[in-house]
């Protein structure tokens, strides 16, 4: 029933509408209050510290439940015990939804690469849009990731076909100002 599924919004006359929809999604990233490890503190600093103040970029840290969230920042070590919960909470978020993997632990296991209980990379469980390297990344790095994500959102199609494609492991080109699509 959705016009998106029918591809209506891809049409040329509707470009301004698409732009508006993307623009509002871009600047209304409600971020799920959920920290995992060290990085969570840096995420908190990025949100709460006046020096970084992520709210400037339209990232609102209000929702404590995944149901109202658009963005989840996996900030820290993902353990095998935690992995099912992460998967579930991710799925409980309504589409369209975005994931930022923050820090080495979430990216690949980080300093716990050889541990028996750590999942080596959250992308084994959920699809990730932006990876932020660092252990932990500085708050500025997270801000940069948000900006990158926003650029991405501004240029993407509406709906979730793209997310679905990414989930299937396909390469989804999204052209942004700084990351031109590779041939």
């Amino acid at each position: 029933m959705g016009l998106v599924e029918k591809g209506v919004f891809g049409k040329k006359p509707l470009k301004p509408v698409t732009w508006l929809l993307n623009y509002s999604r871009k600047y209304s990233l409600w971020m799920f209050q959920w920290g995992l490890a060290c990085c969570a503190i840096e995420m908190g600093a990025a949100l709460a510290s006046p020096r970084y103040d992520m709210m400037r970029l339209g990232v609102i840290p209000f929702p404590a439940s995944p149901r109202q969230a658009d963005l989840v920042v996996i900030s820290g070590t993902v353990t095998d015990k935690m992995a099912p919960a992460i998967r579930r909470l991710y799925e409980q978020m309504p589409d369209p939804k975005y994931v930022i993997s923050m820090g080495s632990c979430a990216n690949c296991g980080g300093p716990y690469w050889d541990s028996y209980s750590v999942t080596k990379g959250v992308d084994q469980i959920i699809p990730v849009d932006i990876y932020v390297p660092g252990c932990p990344p500085r708050p500025e790095a997270l801000l940069e990731a948000i900006v990158m994500l926003q650029e991405r959102i501004q240029h993407e199609g509406i709906g979730n076909d793209e997310l679905a494609a990414r989930w299937r492991g396909e390469y989804v080109p999204v052209e942004t100002d700084r990351t031109p699509v590779q041939a």
Binding site: D80, K81, W113, D114, S115, Y116, S117, Y171
Partner: protein
């Protein structure tokens, strides 16, 4: 249970063989370090009766007066009194520490596996980053009867002293008495120890996994528990096994 100390620690012959095969490589890795940082000869047994600090000796005397023949050995290690007690006196040792030594504060209870770590098997790309440990089984301060030990540290918040207690655990049926009735805080420590070493604590209200998911198998802190990640991808490992998106290899085209 005789008092003989087993000479060879590793129960599995293949692993031991692998360990022996590994030794020369490790030797070759850090020969100069061995020369440089070698203040004393590799004498495995620590001197059992060094001159103890009189205060520590007095503390031990109080403890021994309470526990009696439960004490096997005692020593001072860097300012800490370490007492090894008989397994059947383990719980009584806690009571004595609490009552006679005023050790009202439980610091920790932990397990110990004295078996030398088996080297990770493998061929050329074997992990060489892990420090090489000696491959004979030696026991630390106050010694041990076998592979497993449980040790704990209790302290006094008023007298400002502490005592480290050790006891031996039978390898075949690892179990000691629980301290929960003496120190309620022992609960989680004992659950951790049970999970990590498989040492059971008789008298614990309900022993169950603490850290790991229920479906986890094995006792991670036992020396023979191998870290799979290290075997699959040794360190410093093959970092970039996957081609980057920009690489123009035809079969990878389009794969992120």
């Amino acid at each position: 249970m005789a008092d003989e100390t087993p000479e060879v620690g590793a129960p599995d012959a293949p692993e031991e063989a692998a360990a022996e095969a590994e030794t020369p490589v490790a030797e070759a890795e850090a020969p100069e370090a061995a020369v440089e940082a070698e203040p004393k000869p590799a004498e495995p047994a620590p001197e059992p009766e060094p001159e103890l600090d009189p205060e520590i000796e007095a503390r031990f005397a109080r403890f021994e007066a309470g526990l009696g023949d439960g004490v096997i050995d005692h020593a001072e290690s860097h300012g800490t009194l370490v007492v090894r007690v008989r397994p059947d006196a383990w719980k009584r040792a806690a009571e004595v520490a609490r009552a006679d030594l005023d050790c009202d504060y439980l610091s920790f209870i932990a397990g110990m596996d004295w078996m030398p770590a088996p080297k990770t098997p493998g061929d050329e790309g074997t992990d060489t980053s892990a420090p090489v440990q000696p491959d004979t089984m030696t026991f630390g301060v106050t010694g041990s009867k076998g592979r497993f030990q449980v040790f704990a540290h209790a302290q006094s918040t008023t007298k400002h002293w502490g005592i480290t207690l050790k006891t031996d655990v039978d390898e075949a049926a690892p179990a000691v008495d629980s301290w929960v009735s003496v120190y309620p805080g022992a609960d989680w420590h004992e659950r951790e120890c049970w999970e990590m070493y498989g040492i059971d604590f008789t008298g614990h209200p309900k022993i169950r996994p603490l850290y790991l998911p229920a479906e986890f198998e094995g006792n991670p802190l036992r020396k023979d528990f191998a870290l799979i990640a290290r075997e699959v991808k040794p360190w410093p490992g093959l970092v970039d096994v996957e081609p980057m998106p920009g690489d123009d290899t035809p079969e990878d085209e389009g794969a992120a």
